[in-house]
């Protein structure tokens, strides 16, 4: 039977839980609040700890539930679907042909070009550009983007957490990837 050692929680798990929260929310103040909230909820729910899992697993479960609540309160799913729908034709016209006969094809200036593979000389410089491109993504696309590309979690788990259907999830991730690729091409790979 495992007992809880509440006085050691912060030293043992604060950074670990913060890492998870940051990865899933991509916002440090939000992640801090979620971790603090996790500790407080866990203190209040101590008697429900069965000792079947480790302290760490138990706290992680509480944090994950907090993250789901956070997305729910923000209506993250609703907002991202609304965004996708309302900007659908704008996005299509920006990147793809709309003319009948060749509809759906890349436009001349949006078609992926050949990248110079040895371009990533300075990693820190590149990461600055990468951060800038993440920052330029429409905010409502960020949770799904971060969940998909900044961690290695599977799509089913992400859909459950963000409360998205699989097809909505793919449309969001696809949009984010097309925007991200174009941003990196413009600001890094083809920048003279």
């Amino acid at each position: 039977m495992n007992a809880l050692e509440t006085e050691k929680w912060v030293a043992r798990y604060a950074d670990y839980l913060f890492g998870i929260a940051l990865l899933k929310t991509n916002d440090a103040p939000t992640a801090q609040d979620l971790v603090q909230d996790t500790f407080l909820s866990a203190l209040r729910a101590q008697e429900t700890f069965q000792g079947l899992s480790s302290e760490k697993t138990w706290l992680t479960t509480i944090l994950n539930n907090k993250i789901i609540d956070f997305y729910r309160k923000q209506s993250t799913a609703r907002k991202s679907i609304d965004f996708i729908i309302s900007t659908q034709s704008l996005f299509e016209r920006e990147f793809f042909e709309t003319e009948t006969g060749k509809a759906g094809h890349w436009l001349r200036h949006t078609a992926p070009r050949n990248w110079n593979a040895d371009h990533e000389v300075e990693e820190s410089e590149f990461f600055k550009i990468l951060e800038g491109c993440i920052g330029k993504l429409p905010r409502t696309l960020v949770p799904a983007f971060v969940a998909r590309y900044l961690s290695e979690r599977d799509s089913e788990e992400i859909c459950k957490e963000l409360e998205l259907t699989a097809s909505n999830y793919w449309v969001i991730v696809h949009r984010a990837k097309v925007l991200m690729r174009a941003c990196l091409e413009k600001n890094w790979f083809l920048k003279s």
């Binding site: 940051l22 971790v35 203190l43 042909e97 509809a103 590309y149 690729r181």
Partner: protein, 90 residues
């Protein structure tokens, strides 16, 4: 050329969506065939697939680096520790 084939040849939007799904093994057999056929004619979409995989790798590297970088500050930890011990005192 019959309509469905012509549509597949031009539909880069669909092809790139399939790429994104394929990267995590979520593209159906029909979709994989569709992508393959499309890419026989579409160099930009072959580039897209290559570049997309490249971007995935750098994003993971970036996220691992970020993870190591971000820690809770000692001040905030001290505050939380106090909150927890206060809670225990009731």
């Amino acid at each position: 050329m019959s309509y469905p084939f012509k549509k597949i040849i031009f539909d880069c939007k669909k092809a790139t969506l399939i790429v994104v799904k394929l990267e995590v093994g979520q593209a159906s057999f029909a979709e994989r065939m569709q992508l393959w056929y499309h890419q026989q004619f579409c160099n930009p979409c072959r580039q897209f697939q290559k570049q997309s995989a490249h971007i995935n790798r750098v994003l993971l590297t970036y996220s691992r680096q970020q993870e190591a970088l971000h820690k809770i500050s000692p001040t905030l930890k001290a505050i939380w520790e106090k909150q927890i011990s206060d809670f225990k005192k009731g």
